[in-house]
């Protein structure tokens, strides 16, 4: 079984500052990793994904994440945040190819609060 831990429930940051949202996972099998963003009263929108290959993945809106297998982490980063990045961010994991139905296991979410 897989599980995801997002270490920070809230991250306040000033506009134009860098930010890192932390995500750790546990799994006995290989995994696919995702970051989703949820704006108020909306569904989840994919920011980026790691399936295989390069451990540094780039997503939309200037976000990137690095897969670290030894530390079982997939932290999300942005070098300079905007007010519009204020939202809830979810890290999610899906089991690798074996017996995968594609179900996503989500972390608790991190609220990113960007202040002017």
């Amino acid at each position: 079984a897989q599980s995801v831990t997002q270490l920070d429930s809230q991250v306040p940051v000033f506009e134009e500052a860098p930010v890192e949202l932390r995500c750790n996972y546990s799994s006995s099998v290989s995994v696919y990793l995702f970051w989703y963003v949820q704006y108020p009263n909306q569904g989840l929108q994919l920011l980026l994904k790691y399936l295989s290959g390069s451990t540094l993945v780039k997503g939309i809106n200037g976000f990137e994440a690095e897969f670290n297998k030894s530390q079982t982490s997939f932290h999300l980063r942005k070098p300079s945040v905007h007010i519009s990045d204020t939202a809830e961010y979810f890290c999610a994991v899906s089991a690798g190819p074996s017996g995968n139905t594609g179900k996503l296991i989500f972390g608790q979410g991190t609220t990113l609060q960007v202040k002017p």
């Binding site: 696919y32 995702f34 989703y36 009263n41 909306q42 569904g43 989840l44 929108q45 994919l46 994904k49 399936l51 979810f90 999610a92 899906s94 190819p97 995968n100 139905t101 594609g102 179900k103 996503l104 296991i105 989500f106 972390g107 608790q108 979410g109």
Partner: protein
């Protein structure tokens, strides 16, 4: 860009009543999912559906829940006899392949009174 659409956006129901939540997945997608998010908690997997049958379900998805794809375009979640603890936001998602990213609808907020 194609979207997953969910109706209604908000459903208020008396405890014990049946409720049907509706979803129209993206047309060429083959895998369908329901998730729920209780207020203030994380998004939880309920069920996955492929090739007209359930491929996986969680412990939450008990006998009170059922899913159906009645006409090749809609994907429904039925709760037979609602409980107070069923109050949550329910999200539908679809994808063209199980390793492809899932596309989510905006959700249905279900309030049980």
């Amino acid at each position: 860009e194609p979207e997953v659409t969910q109706t209604p956006s908000h459903q208020v129901t008396q405890m014990g009543q049946e409720v049907i939540l509706r979803c129209v997945p993206i047309s060429n997608h083959l895998y369908f999912y329901w998730y729920r998010q209780i207020l203030g908690q994380k998004v939880e997997f309920l069920v996955s559906f492929y090739n007209n049958e359930i491929s996986e379900k969680s412990e939450i998805f008990d006998d009170q829940f059922s899913v159906e794809r009645p006409d090749g375009s809609n994907f429904t979640l039925k709760i037979r006899s609602t409980k107070l603890e069923d109050s949550a936001m329910y999200f539908c998602a679809s994808t063209e392949g199980y390793i492809q990213p899932q596309h989510f609808g905006d959700g249905t907020r279900l309030s049980i009174l």
